[in-house]
């Protein structure tokens, strides 16, 4: 679409629109936020979009990741997402199936081709990694995240605004789908399985079921497998719908025997794990335990599972479908007993009904509408970061806005979204307060240069004294310091340095007032004839703070955020909050934090 008759061109202005058509951007993640964001970025008309995801599509994705269908299950997320949006695309779309932290596929230089990076990730490790890459390249990064009805976006302008690591983040507990479906190793995995897979499939399922016609593959075995899986699922749902209570034993046989046998057949899974034991020879009798606070025997679990299933089946004709609710005794008992039976099969500890009520109540489902809202905000925020808004003076980085859900998160009653301006970098941030550069080094130089050659060159160029420590950040290995010099005479390859490694050099002198700033170097590839090239960066001297004072400062500057992924500190909390009696007290941040601390909060995506 040329800019003359393009709506987007009219909105952004012809010149800005042309810039947008000429930009190449990177989207990391094709899950809940990623699917939505890809759709927005394609519709806006960005010229080239690369999308990376390592995952394949799972049944549980379908109720919110709107680019995926049942026929796409087990296919690559990024590839499928690209195919599903092609019908409206005027962008050059490239799908990558891989881990963004894989330095061989995605070296630092690869990130440099993009004008902006969008994170649509579900885990802290990858977010941190991409944040670091953005810091090396001074590349703008748009960070985003959702948990239930809570969500946020944060533009990160390296050197000018807070980076992802300027505030500490609590690790939200997320689990890979295969752990839940195939190889549980903790009771919580069984609870998530019972609630979000078994219960959801049998009673709640709002996810789409299979379309008969297009299975998206020509491979006869694949078609057979998909059809088999679909038929089995259908069969179970039909049992439930039929109201025939004698079928409950068939459900037990299917999920606790046959499915386990299928897993056992995949031998690789059990090389390093204890094998599960299918629930053979199950009997049903009248033994019932009603004490919510003790762990029931297997027999009591099975009996209660049957009774809960019967009660749910009787409710189905009237209700059509049933949502899990921890206060709904039938749904809770079904999930609790199913989780415990599965825990027994996998030889994991079981939990009381009371404990499971707590844990299952804290599993935060991913919400499609939150993802839609957050992806829209992320795409909008990128326009100002890239200075593509018409008639608007270029914003200083700290005039840009972050945004987070406010009403839905019970932070304010009169703001749907709050959008405070970005904060300056935290001077104590372990990631963005240090110096960074890229060392270009050819493959052959790893063989010919000794570690001491490299360290000496670095010391000379940036003014480090003799007392430095050299750390391989990627593996946290100490390579050299004042009393460990054994490796200095070895070649770079002998000490396992290679492309993609990050070296950290720290000034370790004592009793001085100023130290050379800690510096991290990314080792990137270059032509053989260049050999080794150090970056032209300045490594400043920084005043050594008095140790005690430093600790206090740190406490002030890095306020611990404990509400999962959502950054609630350092933002201008609505000034009206205190004046609003109802919403103020509903679920203020502090309350939610306390809740998150008490129980296990699980965020699914």
């Amino acid at each position: 679409m040329n800019s003359a008759n393009s709506i987007n061109g009219r909105i952004l202005g012809a010149e800005n629109y042309q810039k947008l058509r000429n930009s190449r951007i990177l989207l990391i993640g094709a899950g809940g936020i990623g699917c939505e964001l890809l759709k927005n970025l394609v519709l806006m008309g960005f010229g080239e979009i690369d999308i990376v995801d390592l995952d394949t599509i799972d049944l549980s994705n379908l109720n919110r990741q709107f680019l995926f269908r049942q026929r796409d299950i087990k296919q690559s997320k990024s590839t499928t997402a690209v195919k599903a949006i092609e019908h409206v695309s005027n962008s050059k779309l490239t799908a990558h199936t891989g881990n963004i932290m894989d330095v061989e596929t995605f070296p630092l230089s690869w990130f440099d081709r993009f004008s902006i990076i969008f994170n649509a990730l579900d885990n802290l490790e990858a977010r941190r990694y991409v944040n670091q890459m953005a810091q090396f390249l001074h590349k703008p990064l748009l960070e985003s995240g959702t948990a239930g009805f809570d969500g946020y976006i944060q533009p990160i302008i390296p050197g000018s605004t807070e980076c992802f690591d300027c505030t500490t983040k609590e690790t939200p507990k997320t689990f890979p789908v295969c752990t839940i479906r195939s190889t549980p190793s903790q009771p919580i995995h069984c609870i998530v399985w019972a609630k979000n897979f078994l219960f959801a499939q049998l009673f709640a399922s709002s996810a789409s079921t299979v379309g008969e016609s297009d299975l998206g593959t020509e491979n006869p075995e694949e078609i057979k497998r998909i059809q088999q899986e679909t038929n089995e699922l259908h069969e179970l749902q039909e049992y439930v719908k039929s109201g025939d209570e004698s079928k409950i034993t068939d459900i037990i046989r299917k999920v606790f025997v046959q499915d386990i046998e299928k897993l056992l057949a995949i031998e690789e899974l059990w090389k390093t794990r204890e094998k599960p034991v299918p629930l053979y020879d199950v009997e049903i009798n009248d033994t019932i335990n009603t004490d919510m606070s003790v762990i029931w025997s297997l027999q009591e679990q099975v009996n209660a599972f049957v009774l809960a299933s019967k009660r749910l089946m009787r409710r189905m004709p009237g209700e059509g479908s049933i949502e899990f609710d921890k206060d709904d005794a039938d749904t809770l008992e079904f999930v609790s007993t199913a989780a415990n039976i599965r825990a027994h099969i996998f030889k994991l500890p079981q939990k009381s009904l009371f404990d499971i009520k707590q844990i299952a109540g804290n599993i935060i489902p991913a919400i499609a509408t939150t993802n839609a809202i957050i992806s829209g905000l992320s795409a909008l925020a990128s326009l100002r970061v890239l200075n593509l808004i018409r008639n608007q003076p270029e914003a200083k980085p700290t005039e840009l806005n972050m945004a987070f859900t406010s009403k839905a998160s019970n932070i304010s009653s009169n703001r749907y979204i709050s959008s405070p301006q970005l904060a300056s970098p935290n001077p104590k941030c372990p990631v963005c307060s240090i110096a960074r550069g890229v060392i270009h080094i050819s493959s052959k130089t790893f063989e010919t240069a000794k570690l001491s050659d490299l360290v000496d060159k670095i010391r000379d160029k940036y003014g480090f004294e003799d007392e430095v420590s050299v750390l391989d950040k990627s593996t946290q290995r100490l390579l050299a310091d004042y009393d460990f010099k054994d490796l200095l005479d070895k070649s770079l390859s002998e000490v396992n340095l290679k492309h993609g490694v990050i070296l950290s050099i720290s000034d370790e002198r004592c009793d001085v007032e100023e130290l050379r700033c800690t510096t991290e170097f990314y080792l990137d590839d270059c032509e053989e004839k260049i050999g080794l090239r150090l970056p032209d960066i300045k490594v400043p001297l920084v005043k050594v703070a008095e140790p005690k004072k430093e600790d206090e400062d740190l406490d002030d500057a890095v306020e611990t955020t404990t509400s999962g992924d959502i950054i609630l500190d350092a933002v201008d909390v609505d000034e009206n909050v205190k004046k609003r009696p109802l919403e103020d007290a509903s679920f203020p941040p502090s309350k939610r934090i306390a809740e998150a601390d008490e129980g296990i909060t699980v965020i699914l995506d």
Binding site: M1, R10, L43, V88, K357, A372, L380, A381, S413
Partner: protein, 314 residues
């Protein structure tokens, strides 16, 4: 939720986003009414139509893609102009979501929704900005909260909302006393909101001063009863200044760049704005069909530049 019958009027960018969210959430039955043909500009903000559909009816192009997302949702497609429908047509639904309408049509639809006591959501896009208007007529919302040292009093909490019932209960797991608070939401009809809605006495002076221009400008655009092919910035400025005085905002805050932006972008659909506004509408529709927490009440404006999104009781 699963027995609800929802009508979405117009399948533009907003209608598309709202439909996507409602279909994914498994709403019982969804009816779409739209008489437009697909034009090439639709492809910049709508994803249920494709490049090969230009010239055909939007609904014909979109229907298979919508149904494919969730075969369990009952879908009905009507290619008539909704303005040609008799009033009784709307009576079959539990809730109406209307998008991309001019004020005159909003008022007509609002009269019908009030006659049949139907909740109505109205949403529209103006380029980088978008708005939501909600008329649930009267709605009692139930929220739960931990009881503080003082019990929540029964009283008017704001112009449109009153706490009418507070029930204490013991949460046995936490051994703490909670309150179940029923808040009655009263809504203004669209016409009254547009002509009389004010922020006087509702915001602090600082808030009034910092309020985005998008609010008076959105209302000013809504005063064009049947829209306008071309909107002149001076005329829009005048209308916005009137709205400022109605709202109680200092009109000297109106910036030329915003006035020009709104004059040029009136009614234009932009995908990321549709995602935010459409997601917000769908979230609230799902919320009230499940009769859960306090619904939106009653006017919301997104400023797509600052990402500011306030809720106003007008």
């Amino acid at each position: 939720m699963r027995s609800a019958k929802v009508l979405v009027v117009n399948l533009g960018a907003l209608g598309t986003e709202i439909t996507k969210c409602l279909v994914l959430s498994g709403v019982g039955s969804l009816s779409l009414i739209d008489s437009h043909d697909v034009d090439s500009q639709d492809l910049e903000s709508q994803f249920f139509v494709g490049k090969t559909d230009v010239g055909s009816k939007r609904l014909d192009a979109a229907a298979p893609r919508i149904q494919d997302m969730n075969p369990r949702v009952e879908l009905y497609f009507d290619k008539d102009d909704f303005r040609d429908k008799p009033d009784s047509y709307f009576q079959q639904f539990n809730l109406i979501v209307a998008t991309d309408l001019h004020s005159a049509d909003i008022m007509k639809l609002n009269a019908i929704s009030r006659r049949f006591n139907l909740p109505l959501f109205v949403a529209g896009l103006n380029g980088l900005s978008g708005y939501i208007f909600v008329d649930l007529i009267q709605f009692d919302a139930t929220d739960e909260k931990l009881k503080s040292s003082v019990a929540t009093p029964l009283k008017q909490v704001s112009q449109n909302r009153e706490v009418i019932e507070v029930i204490e209960f013991l949460n046995e797991e936490q051994n703490k006393v909670y309150e179940k608070i029923v808040t009655r939401n009263i809504y203004s009809p669209f016409e009254k909101m547009l002509q009389e809605g004010t922020l006087k006495g509702k915001l602090t002076r600082r808030q009034l001063k910092r309020l985005t221009n998008a609010v008076p400008l959105t209302l000013a655009l809504l005063t064009y009863a049947d829209g306008a092919a071309v909107i002149s910035p001076p005329e829009l400025r005048e209308k916005a200044a009137e709205k400022c005085s109605q709202l109680g905002l200092p009109s000297e805050n109106l910036q030329e760049t915003y006035i020009e932006q709104f004059a040029e972008q009136a009614g234009l659909e932009f995908a990321p704005v549709a995602a935010v506004v459409g997601g917000a509408v769908a979230q609230d529709v799902i919320n009230i069909l499940g009769k859960k927490q306090s619904p939106l009440n009653n006017f919301i404006v997104l400023d797509g530049i600052t990402l500011d999104m306030h809720i106003f009781e007008l």
